[in-house]
């Protein structure tokens, strides 16, 4: 990905689009299957769904890459990958891969790429995925496009078209990796839709060795302190989110947001200024530098709708905006708008939902 996009005028036309002979052998789409403490990260399944589409367009196989400690779990991850679209899985099992560490994972993945030569390699833009992708791409000296929001292929050039926001999301750009393989990209969680799980699907497992010893690995894991799950908000997977922005004026007014959220069984979200002011936890920030969410219903109160907020919640099924400024940009992409003071609209909306749900439940 370009760090200096503005200096790089679209140059694809001038560049050689033909692949070097030596790279023609690179075939197939790979998805790195990330997991932590016994579960696959959902972003990997989302990527398998997307990877399936790319593989079908190119007429090649889709492979999952599973690395981890030996045991049933890693094998079951391979099957999950099949259920979500993979034709085969590359599996590297080794006790050294128990915890994520950059060095052994970079070696394992780089070796696999060199041996089996995929044309496209996708990873989740998580802390693990970004750590690994940057290392693998540099080791392989190939191109990497971070945080893509859309993936496609140029069939003529057999090239991945990776689209991502640039400049804080005000612009989008499409990036290609010409004449280097594999073409690598990362995608943030929840950006791609989750594919249907089909438990009748199966595939083949190709096993490989890591070939490292602990004494050669410099970085040691001393301890892992898991996050406390109970009180950690899970915005990316919430079905309903009620968010407040700077227009809520003061932290006490967020009670109105919580009241509505409680009636709906919803999560509470916020814009960056609200988080920076310390009114809400960073985990609740929605947007480019926060979480990407795709709820069925997103209610935004006192939020202007800046592009950096928008990219994090644009995929919501239904968006309701409450803002006292009829020209606020949020009305350009919300589905329903109420122009008015959030402090009076929110309690009224809470009551309306309560009443409506009471009758709906009686009827249903």
């Amino acid at each position: 990905m370009s760090e200096e996009t503005e200096a790089k005028k679209p140059a694809a036309g001038k560049r050689k689009l033909q692949l070097d002979e030596s790279l023609l052998g690179y075939k197939g789409v790979w998805v790195f299957v990330e997991h932590e403490r016994g579960a696959i990260h959902p972003v990997s399944l989302e990527l398998l769904g997307e990877g399936r589409k790319l593989a079908d367009m190119l007429g090649v196989e889709l492979a999952g890459v599973v690395m981890g400690q030996p045991g049933d779990t890693t094998r079951s991850f391979c099957h999950e990958a099949f259920f979500h679209g993979a034709d085969l899985c590359y599996l590297v099992e080794d006790p050294l891969l128990t915890d994520y560490r950059n060095e052994p994972y970079t070696k394992g993945l780089t070796d696999l790429v060199n041996k089996y030569q995929p044309e496209i390699l996708l990873l989740g833009a998580t802390t693990l995925g970004r750590d690994l992708a940057g290392s693998v791409a540099t080791t392989l000296k190939t191109g990497l496009t971070a945080d893509c929001t859309e993936l496609n292929v140029d069939l003529e050039a057999r090239s991945l078209l990776a689209t991502r926001p640039t400049f804080g999301g005000s612009l989008l750009c499409t990036i290609q990796t010409l004449n280097y393989r594999p073409q690598m990209a990362t995608v943030r969680p929840r950006v791609m839709a989750m594919p249907e799980r089909d438990a009748t699907r199966s595939g083949r497992i190709v096993e490989d060795k890591l070939g490292m010893v602990e004494s050669s690995i410099i970085t040691k894991v001393l301890e892992f302190i898991p996050d406390e799950m109970q009180d950690k908000p899970q915005l990316p997977f919430a079905d309903i989110i009620v968010s407040g922005g700077r227009g809520m004026k003061k932290p006490e007014n967020f009670k109105l947001i919580w009241d509505l959220a409680n009636v709906l069984g919803a999560e509470v979200g916020a814009t960056r200024p609200v988080v920076q002011a310390g009114w809400l936890d960073l985990e609740r920030q929605v947007g480019q530098s926060g979480k990407t969410v795709r709820p069925k219903l997103y209610i935004a109160a006192g939020i202007s709708g800046a592009i950096q907020h928008r990219v994090g919640m644009d995929a919501s099924d239904v968006i309701i905006a409450i803002n006292n400024d009829p020209n606020a940009p949020i009305f350009d992409f919300a589905h329903y708008g109420i122009v008015g003071n959030a402090m009076t609209i929110l309690p009224a909306l809470t009551e309306a939902f309560k009443a409506h749900l009471a009758t709906a439940r009686k009827a249903g």
């Binding site: 679209p10 140059a11 750590d131 290392s135 612009l171 290609q176 992409f333």
Partner: protein, 281 residues
């Protein structure tokens, strides 16, 4: 101890506008700032220096105007500053950028061996978070990303223990220096520039290195030539075809507006109504 902090001058992305007709970025008048994430890295480096002594060198690759970002860093308390600037670097992607920075760091270490390289988590304009890992690989250094805290540093035995944010928790990692650390935001706050440092910054002679001074051995690894990725298209996001339906009713009272909204919405999205009824308490 010697810490090199890689920083980048970026346009304040909150203030960037896109030309409505030509779709190009209008950079005129957009102030340039030090990438906000890099300030956390710089502050962390300064704290280690306060505690363990040593030197903090700030490094950037960019156009000549990026010198201002380095001067800012000096005013916060960095000791030295190096600007790597040359036409050959124009159009560098993350792979080419990591090559130039790694070369420069090797040059810097000739003066005084480098124990730690710090970078921010990512930039606000590129947003890739890939340059740090790239530099580490090129220098064959251990890589520790998303570090929220340096727990301890043992300068005798060249060991460092850090807390690293991972998806489901915090990893406590021990590794050997030299290593490269990308520092997570929010765990410290940039100190105020002292009068003395501001004065020093105004007169400090920033080292300005061209490709040769930066130790670039192979120019084909820099700039457009050294960049495997190519931007083939730049465009503004398409606005949604239909704008929000603004709810109105006769009284325009909050209560009536809310009832009208729900009626309209649930009429169009009956599934949503069922969904909410099922889960709400």
């Amino acid at each position: 101890m010697h810490i090199v902090v890689c920083i980048k001058q970026v346009p304040d992305s909150a203030q960037i506008r896109v030309h409505p007709v030509t779709n190009t970025i209008m950079r005129q008048g957009v102030p340039a700032i030090v990438n906000p994430y890099d300030l956390y890295a710089l502050e962390e480096a300064l704290r280690l220096k306060d505690q363990y002594g040593g030197r903090v060198t700030v490094l950037t690759m960019g156009p000549p105007m990026a010198e201002a970002a380095l001067r800012k860093a000096i005013s916060y308390g960095a000791d030295d500053a190096v600007l790597v600037t040359d036409r050959v670097f124009a159009g560098s992607d993350t792979l080419a950028t990591s090559y130039a920075l790694a070369s420069a760091i090797s040059q810097i270490s000739k003066d005084m061996p480098v124990d730690l390289v710090f970078t921010g988590k990512q930039t606000i304009d590129g947003d890739t978070a890939q340059v740090g890992p790239g530099v580490a690989k090129r220098l064959d250094m251990q890589l520790l990303t998303y570090v929220s805290k340096v727990r301890s540093l043992d300068t005798e035995n060249d060991e460092i223990v850090v807390e690293r944010r991972s998806e489901g928790g915090v990893q406590v990692l021990k590794t050997s220096t030299p290593c490269l650390i990308t520092v997570l935001e929010g765990n410290n706050e940039m100190r105020f520039a002292t009068m003395a440092n501001m004065f020093r910054a105004s007169r400090y002679p920033v080292k300005i290195w061209n490709k040769d001074e930066a130790g670039i051995e192979d120019v084909t690894k820099t700039g457009l030539k050294g960049s495997p990725t190519v931007v083939s298209k730049v465009f503004a996001p398409t606005p949604r075809a239909v704008k929000a339906e603004i709810i109105q009713c006769e009284s325009n009272e909050p209560g009536d507006l809310s009832v009208t909204l729900l009626a309209k919405m649930f009429n169009k999205h009956p599934k949503l109504e069922k969904e909410i009824a099922k889960r709400a308490v």
